[in-house]
């Protein structure tokens, strides 16, 4: 396969994918550090297995799988800290670089989305995956992926305050 793990090509791939992957992992992780741990594990595992980097659906499936396992392993602590984390993460460890109030409102509206819609949105907007790749990663049909994306946008539009 093509992606032999030389220093050059893994760094190129990772630097391109890392911000979106970390953002994707943040949906299940309660902190940036946890999200980075998840991405690190998924990427190393993916790279070592020499999967084709073009198969991004598989990479995101790996991140999701590891994130869910991480959640299960850490469930007790997660329950204990969930309230505090959900309240403080947005302040201490924001997921986006917010430049103005309209972006702040947009991020707040994003937080209100159901998880299944938000994960499709994150994969589509910030990771530029196709619906086919999203469908592959989430094990859903392409139509479902597209529907969730449209619902997410509609919900965002509805929840955003008028300009």
């Amino acid at each position: 396969m093509e992606n032999v793990a030389t220093d050059e090509n893994w760094k190129t791939c990772f630097s391109q994918l890392a911000p979106g992957l970390v953002l994707f992992a943040r949906q299940w992780a309660r902190s940036s550090a946890d999200a980075e741990d998840i991405v690190q594990e998924a990427f190393v595992r993916f790279w070592r297995k020499q999967h084709d980097i073009a198969n991004r659906g598989l990479l995101y499936a790996a991140v999701r799988s590891i994130a869910l396992d991480f959640l299960r392993r850490d469930n007790r602590r997660a329950r204990r800290e969930s309230t505090a984390a959900s309240e403080t993460d947005q302040i201490v460890q924001p997921m986006f670089e917010i430049e103005d109030e309209s972006q702040r409102a947009l991020v707040a509206a994003l937080d209100l989305l159901p998880n299944e819609q938000r994960e499709v949105l994150v994969m589509k907007i910030w990771n530029e995956l196709t619906f086919a790749e999203i469908a592959s990663a989430l094990e859903i049909s392409q139509n479902t992926a597209a529907s969730r994306y449209r619902y997410a946008l509609a919900n965002l539009k509805k929840n955003l305050p008028p300009v």
Partner: protein, 178 residues
């Protein structure tokens, strides 16, 4: 264009917080350790390519297979024993793997004879794709919960004995990533 192009543009202008500076270093170190581990595993057969995968996952998988095999073998032995002890004539029974036996005149008053084994799968959950330790490809994990009930009956006194226990089975099915 669609009705959502404006909101899509706004979303694209949102920039995710970049990962920490040391993430790349950590991944680099992890990959280096992985390569070192691969070399150790491959030993003298090691080549200069990075294309050979570590195979330690097979050990884990084989242990799982061994465990499942042993469980299946134990169930077979139990089942065979019940079949062996059971009288010849069979009467089919609903949801029962072993039908109710016909009793012979040689039974003593204190003898319990197997009357049936029932296995009910009451919950099956598809847990999606997983990557067991160092596996090459994703595997679908399906967890099944069953309840097995063994019954014995004393034909002379009419007394019956029933043992019921829950069991759980996890099956891993390789899934092609392409």
């Amino acid at each position: 264009m669609n009705d959502f192009s404006e909101i899509e543009d706004k979303l694209r202008k949102l920039r995710p917080v970049p990962p920490s500076a040391d993430l790349m270093t950590r991944v680099e170190r992890a990959l280096a350790e992985a390569r070192h581990g691969d070399s150790l595993h491959r030993g003298k057969r090691s080549t200069s390519t990075a294309g050979v995968l570590p195979r330690e996952w097979r050990l884990h998988f084989n242990w799982l297979s061994l465990g499942l095999g042993l469980a299946a073998a134990a169930a077979l032995v139990l089942f065979a024993r019940i079949q062996f002890d059971r009288p010849v004539k069979k009467v089919p029974a609903l949801a029962s793997l072993t039908p109710a036996p016909q009793f012979s005149s040689t039974n003593s008053t204190a003898q319990f004879i197997p009357a049936g084994l029932t296995q009910v799968v009451y919950h099956t959950r598809d847990e999606g794709l997983h990557f067991p330790n160092n596996s090459e490809q994703p595997m679908r994990r399906v967890r099944s919960h069953t309840r097995e009930t063994l019954r014995w009956r004393n034909p002379t006194t009419g007394a019956s004995l029933r043992v019921s226990y829950p069991s759980e089975e996890v099956s891993l099915t390789p899934v092609s990533g392409q």
